[in-house]
Symmetry: C2
Subunit: 589 residues, 2 copies
Amino acid sequence: MHLNHRIEKVFPCLQWIKGYQYSHFTSDLIAALIVTIMLIPQSLAYALLAGVPPQLGLYASILPLMVYAVFGTSRTLSVGPVAIASLMTAAAIQNLGIENQVDYVNAAIMLAFLSGVFLVLMGFLKLGFLANFLSHPVVSGFITASGIIIGLSQFRHIIGIKASGDNLLELVETLLANIGSANTATMMLGIPVLLFLFWARSGLLSLLRYYSAPQKLIKLLPKVAPVLAVILTCILAYQFNLEASGLALVGEIPRGLPSFALPVFSNVSWIDFIVPAIFISIIGYVESVSIGRTLGAKRRQKVDSNQELIGLGTANIASAYSGGIPVTGGIGRSIVNFNSGAETPLAGFLAAIGIALAAMTLTGLLSYLPTATLAATIIVAVSNLIDFSILKKTWNYSRSDFTAVLLTIVITLLAGVEGGVLSGVGISIFLHLYKTTKPHIAEVGQIAGTEHYRNVYRHKVITYPEIMTLRIDESLYFPNTSYLEDQILQRIAERKDLKHIVLMCPAINEIDISALEILESINQYLSELDIGFHFSEVKGPVMDNLKKSDFLEHLNGKVFLSQHQAIEAILQKKYQKAKEKPEFTDFQI
Amino acid sequence: MHLNHRIEKVFPCLQWIKGYQYSHFTSDLIAALIVTIMLIPQSLAYALLAGVPPQLGLYASILPLMVYAVFGTSRTLSVGPVAIASLMTAAAIQNLGIENQVDYVNAAIMLAFLSGVFLVLMGFLKLGFLANFLSHPVVSGFITASGIIIGLSQFRHIIGIKASGDNLLELVETLLANIGSANTATMMLGIPVLLFLFWARSGLLSLLRYYSAPQKLIKLLPKVAPVLAVILTCILAYQFNLEASGLALVGEIPRGLPSFALPVFSNVSWIDFIVPAIFISIIGYVESVSIGRTLGAKRRQKVDSNQELIGLGTANIASAYSGGIPVTGGIGRSIVNFNSGAETPLAGFLAAIGIALAAMTLTGLLSYLPTATLAATIIVAVSNLIDFSILKKTWNYSRSDFTAVLLTIVITLLAGVEGGVLSGVGISIFLHLYKTTKPHIAEVGQIAGTEHYRNVYRHKVITYPEIMTLRIDESLYFPNTSYLEDQILQRIAERKDLKHIVLMCPAINEIDISALEILESINQYLSELDIGFHFSEVKGPVMDNLKKSDFLEHLNGKVFLSQHQAIEAILQKKYQKAKEKPEFTDFQI
């Protein structure tokens, strides 16, 4: 590879920097402004969701964005703290039984660091394909269920009660148990803010459209609504000293930028964080690549899944070194970035500068911010994630996809996020394997006027009483060997005048050694009954393997290149008897 | 189903009882005698291996054999305590930290009971197919490794030292640490017995053949050798009061038959036994069905895998109710039963009566039996299980089968039996899935003079620059969707004059919803490039599914019955443009 190419592989930013134009800068700057305005309350909110002090959310929105702009391959992905990663961070730390505030913060940072290391490692080992085991329906189901859990977990802040738990039952139980102790001041502020934010997403849009407001305003106002809510509620809290009436505020946020160092651990072992870090990083990666690909497809921009691992991994390491929580590409934020006209990752870089400026100047004001406002921001944001349409779509298409989604949703709701993901993957794989244990086996015949052979029950075909051709629609491997044997022997028993069996193998992509042993035993059995055992359309890689065994030497029949040749040869009785060298010599490789 | 048939389904014994002849009885009786002689020391030995008092081995060889004769489907399988199930029983109880002798015995009985319940449940739910996930190579590897562990674990009894552990390292470590304290009397007796038993298997046979001894003697003597060893060592131990010199004896065995009741539990919860019971029962089932099938095939007798679950399950429940340890069909014992001429399960029933008589009369003599003799019996028996040839066989045929076997052996040796089995299954499934994530994709062309299309790199074929036909050799499902997309887009990018892509689908047995989404996005992309996107040889079940979605309505091309029709239609430009109803109407179902 040319040196330039290699350097560009390591620093994908060089590709867009080369072709950078002034017009790009204007678009990137506008997108950066909008995203910054949106990111300030979101960063604080996701820190709240993760259970860490608000500045950790801000820190996670500065350096990681810059690093991703250098190493990431998506042009418009917006990286930073996101709802699901924050929820998983909180759940992981609580599961480890860490309650001390200093340890809790260190744990969150350690999770970001280990997630980053894990992602970079996966990237170097080119293991991006492993993420494919999280199927799209399973991820959709998981995101929907997580959205519900997140929304419910934040509701306590809206009405000012204590509630906890990382699954539906615990949350509902603690919410109901404490609902009597709701705080009036919090409710009076929280519920209107929540309603306002929901209205800003739907009612406001209709209103603006009704009055034919300019497009730019229609685009901008709903995004500014959370900022308005933040400013207004800060002022209210300050003016009326609502903290005294029981309204929870964000409280003091250290002014300025983070220092660049990993925290020193004392009471907890980093080993315990490896498994949760793997979960957080894989889920984050899948979410990020999925939105990155969707946006990339709209502008014909490619997202390289292995380089993305490195981009997101370095972003997480950067987040940890600057005292932030785990980050990934956020769905909502990336769509806003894309729709606001971002052309290159410079938009993300500029947004990072915006957040840094906010961290240096706005922290005084933000200390009066009611947590109820942040909770309302989160609830409105995650309400977008909740989407049950995947249930309907999969129900119509395939019951096994539907089962995987439904169980993922139910288990995530009842057992929490990590259990939900694991079950989703497990169920999908199990259902796939289950289908392969009882493969579809079709008896086929010739479609008149062609050399094509199809299922006797679906097509009008020509067959012969002394020949049975079975097409097995699956690779032959250990889970289906005994089914295969039962099926073949049973079908032989039903056909008394049978002289030849042909296994038509276009769908057999592998014959493992367990299956080979079964084929040997079937061959033995058929030899004794003096029934020919033939194969047709065995694919190259499978044939290569069979030749390594002595199966073909003992075969009581022949291997034919095509099904048609097999039938013609058998009918003309031209085939030679067993124990000779198999005819199949036209495999050149 | 006819009532008689139904009753025969529930009681498979009715089938052989109906056709029972006097000549059968003679054969069965002789086989029963030989098996009884063999079973007495083996039953005591496997009780020793399981760590329970010797009578539990005898009890496990009475009622279970009778129950299996009623409910089992194999004619010649010999059920009873076996080496691997006993090893797993001991490992499970030790893992649970049970040391008190009464609890230990109760735990062993509880494991037999739960194994039985689990097997019967599997049988009623017709889940026998699940056992297929233990592939034959993995089971071979597991049995070999278990054989090594069992042999090593018994060696301490031969030289009279303490050693423990359920994996290779622990065993070797404790053996080496204690070898200095070996007991002279034990060694003086143990080592000669061990050598004698090995010689009786090989040297004795050659000797008998050399002197042209009658066939019956050649067959019988090696089987009687362990009994000779038992009798001789009992007499030696009694005569010279070797117990005083440190020789461990079996000790008092309660005379008579077991009482029929489950033990009452006090200190341990039966919940803890569920997982080990599942392991023991599945491994036992696989071992049993595998030997049952092998023997059945030799006499054209069928073994019904679901009924076998019930047969072995009830046998285990019977074992527990009569105070015995987990049982299953033993490999060595079944082969002896078969070779001794057993015709029906009555042989097993008669052997049970033989053991019962022994339990009532011989216990006085057997209390002088040295454990070294039993250990030697076990070592000689399991030495037959150790067989590394599966490594060579799989190495030659397929590296992924080889990897699965090798890792199963290594992990079983290092991490114990349960870990070994789990890893074996996990590795086999993972390797299979891994292969499906990067499926073989062949570009194909027409073999001149036929309507058959094959790989352009393996055959001399006719192709056209404007048409690319790809045959994807795998079902399209979530783990390979992104690989598929990358491959197709990459191949398109390399072919500038491309006008049509045909996906030839004979090997595609499933298109799940994740794959459907990728096909939709590829179709979208190809539409914009004005490249036709066609399918050929889509199988019935897959087509049924595609019709449930709106994919075919948006398809920028057509679905052809055969690849040849696709090429002909495209060449004659007869195909109609997209958005019309797909031509594919000859699917009748």
